[in-house]
Symmetry: C2
Subunit: 332 residues, 2 copies
Amino acid sequence: MSLTLEQVGKLAGVSRSTVSRVINDHPSVRDDVRERVWEVIHQTGYQPHAAARSLVTRRTQIIGVIIPETVNRLFTEPFFLRLIQGITEGCNARGYHLMLSLLTSRDRREATYRNVIRNGYLDGLIVASAELSDSLIPDLQREEIPFVLVGRHTNRHVHYVDAGNVVGARTAVEHLIRLGHRRIGIITGRLDTPGGDDRFRGYRQGLEAHHIPLDDGLIAHGDFTEGSGMAGMQELLPASPTAVFVSSDTMAIGALKVLRQTGRRVPQDVALIGFDDIPLSSAVEPPLTTVRQPIAQMGETAVEILLSLLDHPGAEPQAVILPTELIIRESC
Amino acid sequence: MSLTLEQVGKLAGVSRSTVSRVINDHPSVRDDVRERVWEVIHQTGYQPHAAARSLVTRRTQIIGVIIPETVNRLFTEPFFLRLIQGITEGCNARGYHLMLSLLTSRDRREATYRNVIRNGYLDGLIVASAELSDSLIPDLQREEIPFVLVGRHTNRHVHYVDAGNVVGARTAVEHLIRLGHRRIGIITGRLDTPGGDDRFRGYRQGLEAHHIPLDDGLIAHGDFTEGSGMAGMQELLPASPTAVFVSSDTMAIGALKVLRQTGRRVPQDVALIGFDDIPLSSAVEPPLTTVRQPIAQMGETAVEILLSLLDHPGAEPQAVILPTELIIRESC
DNA sequence: TTGTAAGCGTTATCAT
DNA sequence: ATGATAACGCTTACAA
C-alpha cells in the first residue's frame, strides 16, 4: 500500500516530476506548489522507493564497513565498536546508511571478501584495520570500488585515515625520558600491522632524538595480546629496564601482572606506559599512563574522506593523520 | 562499465530473459544454453544490478539491526558484538546483507528510530535488546515493518528470541542450594529489562521450590554496571548471605571487589555466581561460576525467525527460548 | 515553472 | 524452451 510519486502528484494536483523536484529540493518549483506538495507528502507519509531511486541515480547512499579481523581482537579491544560508532555518526550526519561485514572465521576470509566485492549495493567501502599484506586492497583496486582504509597503507594510491602512531609513541618515550629514564624497554605489537610498526618506529625516534642508543636486550616482540605482554615483560626483565613502553594497553596489563608477580612495584621499580587507552586502563592498579587514539573521530573522518572520494573520483589520494593524546596517570 | 543482462545475452547469443532465467535457476533452460550463459557470466564478471532487481522483486535481501542501547552497555559488555556476529553468520548463510543502526546518543533516539523506520532498503529488522517500554516497537507495528526482538516482550504479537533467563537464574540458585547454601542473596539487574526481570524471577522460583522464604534484606537492586554491583554487595553485607546470585558478571566482578576489600574470601566466606559468562569472568580471581547465554546462536535464530516471517507474513508470532548453560568455576 | 516521455536493469507474463 | 514486451518507481532531458 505504499504510495508512488504519481499518486502523490495526483493528490497535490501536479505531475510526478514536480513532486520529484520538490523532494529533491530542485529550485524551480513555485513556492505555493512546493508547500502544497509537502503537505500531501506529510499527510500521506509518502517515502520514495529507495531501489527505484538508486536505479536511476546510480547511488544507494549505502557505504560498507568491513572488519577483516579475527574474533579475538574484535572482543578484547573496544577499538572496533568505537570505530563503528564514529562511522555511524559520520553516516547519520550525511544521510548515509551503513552496511556491516564481519569476518566470522579465518577460513571464510575469501568468501567474505568476495561477498563485499560483489555487494551491488555499496557506494563505497571503509576497510577497518587490514593487515598490510591483505589481498583485499588490490582486489578492491582492480574492481575500482572506492574505499578508505583505517590505518595507513604503503600503497600510494590508497586513501586512509590513521592515528599519529609514530608521534604518539615518540611522545610516550620522551615522557619517560623527561622523567629521568634512560633504560627504556619496549614490547612491540605485531610489526606486520601499521600500528605495531609505527609505534616501534616512534620508540626508536624518541631514543634517537635524545642520543640514547638502541639496546636489543630492551626490545621484546609481542602480538597485541595480553599473553604476549606477559611473555614480553619476562623477556625484558634480565635487561632490568627502569621503564617500558608497551605498544598496547592490553599487553601493558599483561606486563603489569608479571611485574607484580615478580614483586616489582610500578612505577617505583619499573615505570610503564601503554597505548590505546582502553577502559580497563584506568581501572587497573596503578592506573595506566597511556596514549589515546581518537578512534571515533577516525571513523567520522573515514566517512568524510570516502564521501568526498565519491564526489571526486579522480582526486588525489588523501592521507589524514589524527593526533593522539598522552593520558598521564600513575604508572610512571 | 558494468554489464547488463541484455549485453550478456548478446554475447551468449540468447535474449535477456534467458540470461535472467539462468541466473535465477529457473528450470526451463536447455542445459547447453545454461552452460554457455554461465560461461559468459563468469568470463565477463557480470553481476546483476541490485537496485534494479529489488525494484521489481520488492526484496532487497537486506535486514536491519538496531541496537537501541546507550554507549555504556555497548562497551562494557561483549554481548552486542557477539550478537552481531551471530546475525552476520545467519545472514551470510542465507545471502542476506546486514545494515546496522547504532544509537549514538540518548537524545538522538527519536531521530535514529525515524531513520530506521524510513529506511526504504530494509526487508525486515532485528531489534537488539530494547527496553520493555520502548516506543520503537509500537512504531514498527504501526508501519507494518517485519521485525524480531532479541529479548522477550510482553506484547503477544511480537516475534522474539530470548535466552532462558528464568530457568538459567533458577538453575544458578539451585546450584547454590545444592551446595548447602540457605542464605542466598541477589543483586538484580534493571528490572525494566526483560533479562533483569526474568533473572529475578528465576531467583525467586529457585528459593520457592526449596521452601526458602524470600528475605528483603538479601535483595539488592543493581543496573548491570560494575558500580552497582559494588553498591549492591555493600548493601547485602549486613544481612550476611553465605552466597549471592548476581544478575550479570559485570556486577559480580564489582561484588567480588567489595568482598575482597572487606576481607572476605570467595567462595569460603561468600559464594558468588554470575550471569553472562563474559571473557573477564574466567580471568578474575577466583574464576567466576556463571550462566552462559548462547548469544551468537540467538543472533542466528533471530535471522531465521525474521526470514521465515518474511516468507509467511501472516504467521503466528514465534517466541524462541534458547537454553542457558551453567559454567562451573571456582567462585562457589 | 511545469508536464511529457524516455530511460535505468531487472523480473514476469504471454506468446510462440 | 525461448523471446518480446510490459511493468517496477524514480530522475531527467526536452518541450511547452
